[in-house]
Symmetry: C2
Subunit: 678 residues, 2 copies
């Protein structure tokens, strides 16, 4: 909640949102037609957007200095990352990480592995990027993973339909000749654009006579463009495949092996770190929308009837900023709540979801996200994937607005049941019933002699298939045979015909002690590039009284390079000490950058600050007295301590891996006052 | 060199190789036609192969126990890795790494980063997998990166031509009805197969009437199949792209940024860890031939006139097993040589190449390759890529024979000059001349007014292009204008026409102090999957007197899990001690597996040994006396020590990162004698 004087200005906007939130609730209650509800939801979103823009505009500007131009300059100049294949003209949506970006990304991934895989005992996988079409058909990606695009009817050039409309509206609104009423109408379109379907967008294009911004030619109706990169495996071209759009499917298709590895027990979590690929129609916004990106995904498999988490008790008092669906409908702001409360009042669907939200929050704190610019926003019912029960996005506020960086979703059993259907493999877990129960069994028992004689080598497959049939399938089969005298049975790629005397339908009661079920899946899914971008924005600083000295105040654990090694002069007599320092650093796997150029120490510090190096080791004339010592400087506070060369590797390693804080180090080692740090 | 009694049996085979080695040398001296030399090289290779097979057959079998069936069983059962998409029938050449394989791979990669990037101060990059066609056209991959395949003329099924012939020959040779003379002929084919071109293979197929092994249908002539996976970027389908077949090209196209990052100085090395993709026609042999694989590549850029290495002096006495081209031609065995000698006598082309061979060897030792089954084999002149000057493969002996796992090549300036040509960007470095020199300058000076008037907005591009012309290009232009009155100039995608009065040719002398040059590139390139497979084979063991107890004796630094945590019984009073142990381990990022099942301690040790866990922490009844202690067991020797719970995280971390050896730990902590370790 903002300051009272700001809140006052927001009152009418909040009320405007609530009006439509209430309307939607009442429409749903009355069972109104879906189109009416959808229209109301679009209006709700438009009003929410206005509210949010106003909130951001009114927010105090001094949260942190930020100058995007200087920021991007520094990133490019120190090669954190830059456009791929630039010497060939570049490709939009593809970025190469340079030495600084690459090291930072590797550190974020290592921390992720430590924070999740190691500390939560997850089963990590590393699966193929190349994925056959049938896998992604089952997961729904072949049919539904697409964006709307329009084509220039003469040149064939393509535009993402929503971006095209947005750019058109923005251009017209900037034009001073545009009348106020037209502007008002166009801004309405902009606000509702996110909820538009193909027909809505087509109407806008026709009504406002929107043409290709490049050629002025007519445009096609919006058509669905699948966002997966297609390829083929093997030389014949028969095995159609895609580059995976997410790593999750690799985990689902390995479910049986993982369950076995875990001795058949639930719950367990599997994790994967790797590349995902999405053929965006016209990607912009740097690392925020990429065609190739690093994801970290967790699939936590759990009994759908028991989504409690053994460690939830430990985190229940942890506070999160939650922007619930309910508050969004009411025009109310996000609120701070202990996760225990949120789960108790069913705001967050279950303990496991809540536990992961806390773990996600802690991870984002460790990598350096500003807690004031982080919230969990719940998906509204119509935003959720059709299979999900509850979904909360960790959104981070950047200069591009609130960006979704981690999704924490309860995917229910959608994926496992889809792959089961597609393959005939039972991707289920088994649990012991609290008391045995009696069930009705209906089996199709094959007449093995007859089937064997007719189907020869295929017979075995038919027997297996018959065993796998569900109760409903056996009853269907029975009905067909009774009415037609024979029935068709799908068996792998083929269909076989079963005559009446091939099978006997057997009915009996059976006492069972265990039950098979599809596990539910709780999925936290991280976009590493987006998080990295946010951390860089949040950690960008300039020194007081010196606008030229900009730097990154990165947490040591993610900093690309942990320390600098700076001899106070290039005098060769420092070489043995430098050598000893370097070998201590290597022993503890501490990355370092040596700068023995002739610049002043202050200038060299500024250079290392600029790339986010948190610690600076200086070898000065005092260093030579036995036992050799060096000074250690912390870039954020510019304070220094003095310590033995023998300790320097271990101490910087401890400081860089959160085993020791800077203030702890200051208590152990004497303070060092430097003469000049320009 | 093998034992004398074995060497004796090899004498005739060695002589047979040398005969052709000598023949090739004399053919080359005489300037014989290339086809004659090629034919002799094929024969040489066939004879080398026979020699090698005999050597392997005669080698003492007790180097190490190896039972491939048990080995593969264990890998599958404990999910180190397995075929991808198995529930969908699987895809050949694609593997998923399970929790054990994934952790081991991550450890190998982290060690690689430490050993190379950190210790050698390399610039690590992380570039796009998606690569536009023009980049790979310039690198030569679009035109030359292919294998020969034949097609079933009726069904279109494809076979890799050499594999097809190999399988055919093997099948015929196994047939007892085949005559000895036919067998002899076929075995000759097998031996020479590696050197066959399309015509050679077609001749064999026709002569022996080889048909499709599946349908018996006729086969096509061998056709070149490009091994890159094709795709398209963006919605129009205009931007053709491939999945990168190697990571190297991403480094080359970033050369300018890297040189700038390194303040314009040479030499420097860049490195990249990432996926490569090759659409093998019919991959077999598990991790050894994959369609998707992890590579680690280094591109070390150096002045072509000075390939010395500052740290070479430190490694010059390091011994390597070298199998030089010369020895291969002479039928002589590989020999052990200090790298200093090998470089001094020009066996290894230069210091930088030699330095990297040593670093590669050390890395392979650290991950657990058996030094006796590792050699560096020099490429024969006709094996080398056309642009390389010298190339040595680190080959590892596995149950599949000698496998190329790391290539260390001097690629000269091939790639940088190709990308320069394709883009017009000068991918060069600059060096200060020891003394200034006078050079002849020929420039095409544009008549800016005239060109500007005619070409308008394009004029600027023409001026830039004219500036970039080389001396030779200006002379060509001049000649054309003199003879024809005008000349064509390629300018980006277009061609423009220059009339006589558009430019003036200016000649003058200039004193220059610096010189631009294309750096040479030394490239060590690692296939992580192949190395991992070799390490697993080399570390596979069985306990004496117990064939059932098989295990992996992995170096702690690459072991998937560093330690087990085993309470001697499941008594809940151990829980606080267990908790303290776990939090110590987490503090030092040590991975662990807890096994509190009811099995005997011996059986639980066996289970953790099987997945290569090097250290076992046991909480026993003695643990409870203050200060709490635990026992620590080393799986290879099964020895144990006793230490405080407070020390256990740090000690296992040190033992697992080579900061402490087991024998050092034994000197610090008291020995613990266990009652039973079944």
């Amino acid at each position: 909640m903002a300051a009272p004087e700001i809140e006052e200005q927001l009152i009418p906007l909040r009320a405007a949102v609530k009006e439509f939130g209430d309307l939607i609730r009442s429409l749903k209650e009355k069972g109104a037609p879906k189109t009416d509800i959808d229209r109301a939801v679009n209006e709700l979103k438009a009003r929410k957007k206005k509210l949010e823009e106003r909130e951001l505009a009114l927010a105090p500007k001094n949260i942190s200095f930020f100058d995007r131009l200087k920021f991007e300059d520094l990133l490019k100049q120190r090669f954190f990352y830059d456009q791929s294949f630039a010497i060939y003209g570049g490709v939009t949506g593809l970025y190469d990480f340079g030495p600084m970006g690459c090291a930072m990304k590797a550190n974020m991934i290592n921390l992720w592995r430590n924070h999740f895989v190691l500390q939560e005992n997850m089963l990590e996988l590393d699966c193929s990027v190349l994925t056959p079409e049938n896998v992604l058909k089952a997961s729904g990606h072949v049919d539904r993973f697409s964006d709307w695009m329009v084509k220039d009817l003469k040149t064939g050039e393509c535009f993402r339909a929503d971006h095209l409309i947005k750019n058109f509206v923005e251009k017209i609104c900037e034009d001073t000749k545009t009348s106020a009423s037209v502007k008002e109408e166009l801004k309405e379109i902009l606000a509702k654009l996110e909820g538009f379907n193909d027909a809505d967008m087509h109407n806008v294009i026709v009504k406002h006579n929107i043409k290709s911004p490049v050629t002025g030619n007519e445009l096609s109706e919006p058509i669905a463009f699948n966002l997966m990169f297609p390829t083929m495996i093997g030389p014949t071209g028969d095995l159609k495949a895609y580059l995976r759009p997410e790593t999750a499917q690799g985990i689902f298709v390995n479910f049986k092996r993982l369950l076995e590895f875990n001795q058949g027990k639930l719950p367990f979590a599997a994790a994967q770190i790797g590349s995902g690929f999405r053929n965006e129609i016209s990607p912009r916004q740097g690392l925020i929308r990429l065609r190739e990106f690093t994801m970290c995904e967790i699939e936590h498999f759990v009994d759908p009837n028991n989504k409690s988490h053994p460690k939830f008790e430990r985190v229940k008092d942890y506070n999160l900023i939650l922007f619930s669906g309910c508050n969004q409908m009411d025009g109310a702001p996000a609120e701070i709540l202990p996760i225990g409360n949120a789960v108790a009042k069913k705001l967050v669907a279950n303990e496991t979801l809540g536990y992961y939200m806390v773990r996600v929050h802690k991870y984002l704190m460790r990598v350096g996200v500003d807690p004031k610019r982080l919230r969990f926003r719940q998906h509204l019912a119509n935003e959720m994937a059709h299979y999900a029960c509850d979904c909360w996005d960790a959104e981070i506020l950047t200069s591009y607005g609130w960006i979704e960086c981690v999704g924490v979703a309860d995917r229910a059993c959608y994926d496992l049941s889809q792959h089961s259907k597609a393959t005939g493999e039972k991707l289920v877990a088994e649990k012991v019933l609290s008391e045995p129960k009696v069930v009705q069994i209906i089996e199709a028992v094959p007449n093995k002699a007859v089937i064997g004689k007719i189907y020869k080598t295929e017979a075995k497959q038919i027997f297996t298939r018959l065993e796998q049939l569900t109760l409903e399938e056996v009853e269907m089969l029975e009905k067909e045979i009774v009415s037609a005298g024979n029935a068709k049975l799908r068996c792998g790629d083929k269909e076989v015909e079963l005559q009446k005397d091939y099978i006997t339908i057997k009915r009996y009661e059976k006492k069972v002690y265990t039950e098979e079920f599809f596990p539910s899946v709780i999925e936290p899914s991280f976009g590493i590039g987006r998080i990295m971008y946010s951390v860089l924005e949040h950690s960008f600083r300039q020194r007081e009284n010196d606008e030229q000295r900009v730097y990154f105040a990165l947490p040591p654990i993610v900093a690309p390079i942990k320390c600098s090694v700076l001899p106070i002069s290039s005098n060769p007599r420092f070489e043995p000490i430098m050598d000893a320092v370097r070998s201590e650093l290597v022993k503890f796997s501490v990355s370092y950058k040596q700068d023995d150029s002739s610049g002043s120490l202050g200038r060299r510090y500024a250079r290392t600050d600029a790339i986010g190096i948190p610690f600076g080791i200086t070898i000065d004339f005092e260093s030579e007295s036995e036992p050799w010592t060096v000074t250690l400087r912390y870039s954020i506070t510019m304070e220094q301590i003095r310590l033995k060369v023998n300790d320097v590797g271990k101490i910087v390693a401890d400081l860089s891996s959160e085993r020791m804080s800077w203030s702890e180090a200051q208590q152990i080692y004497p303070k060092f006052e430097q003469k000049s740090d320009a």
